[in-house]
């Protein structure tokens, strides 16, 4: 991993299109601004990892139940279209 030291308002450029700015520094947190093309998706890592975990749990759940369709058809639904 590349580690760089930056001061307030200093920047880091990643490739042609992405720039990171340190916009605020506090004792236990930093605020970071990110300039990137719209198609580049930016997430807090823990948010993305939570989605990955949820998808893995969903796939496991479907695989482990052997009567999943019957179970679902028994559920009460209140469809409002």
């Amino acid at each position: 991993m590349l580690v760089l030291t930056r001061r307030l308002n200093e920047r880091i450029k990643i490739g042609q299109d992405i720039e990171i700015v340190i916009t605020e520094i506090k004792p236990d947190s930093v605020k970071i601004g990110i300039v990137a093309p719209k198609h580049v998706e930016i997430f807090r890592s823990e948010v993305y990892e939570a989605i990955e975990q949820a998808n893995l749990a969903a796939a496991r759940g479907t695989e482990s139940l052997n009567n999943v369709k019957e179970l679902l058809l028994r559920l009460p639904t209140n469809i409002k279209d």
Partner: protein
């Protein structure tokens, strides 16, 4: 013919959807089909064709979460070739369990499908309004 948790299903080419980026945790899964559970039922199976052992139970969120609000970026709409969110089919992924009370829905990352172009994406919403685990049955 493939074997799925909803039974054996005949795959037709015009039913195959493309997830260009895969989905988080399964980035190498791109081709999926939607298998209904029954005519009157809102539940569907999102079944991978790249690995037939991978499938997800999905549901139209409107059936259970009436006030659910989804925000989609212009870039995602463009990727899916949708003019607006309303033109797409919105689904949420469930973690199923044998105890119905334990079934949860991922409202933070719904799946948006363009049924006409057969393109789909799991949309990750960055705001903290929804989580990955909302109980389906209140």
């Amino acid at each position: 013919m493939i074997k799925t948790p909803f039974g054996e299903v005949q795959v037709t080419e015009d039913g195959v959807m493309d997830f260009p980026q895969g989905i988080p945790g399964f980035s190498d899964q791109h081709k999926f089909i939607l298998v209904p559970s029954g005519e009157e039922s809102p539940f569907l199976l999102l079944q991978s064709l790249d690995d037939v052992n991978i499938s997800f139970v999905v549901v139209n969120p409107r059936s259970f979460f009436q006030d659910y609000e989804v925000k989609v970026s212009q870039e995602d709409l463009q990727l899916l070739e949708l003019e607006s969110l309303e033109d797409g089919l919105l689904l949420v992924i469930l973690v199923v369990a044998s105890d119905p009370k334990q079934i949860t829905a991922n409202l933070q990352a719904p799946v948006l499908v363009n049924p006409k172009k057969r393109k789909a994406k799991q949309i990750i919403m960055n705001d903290a309004k929804y989580t990955t685990k909302h109980r389906l049955l209140a």
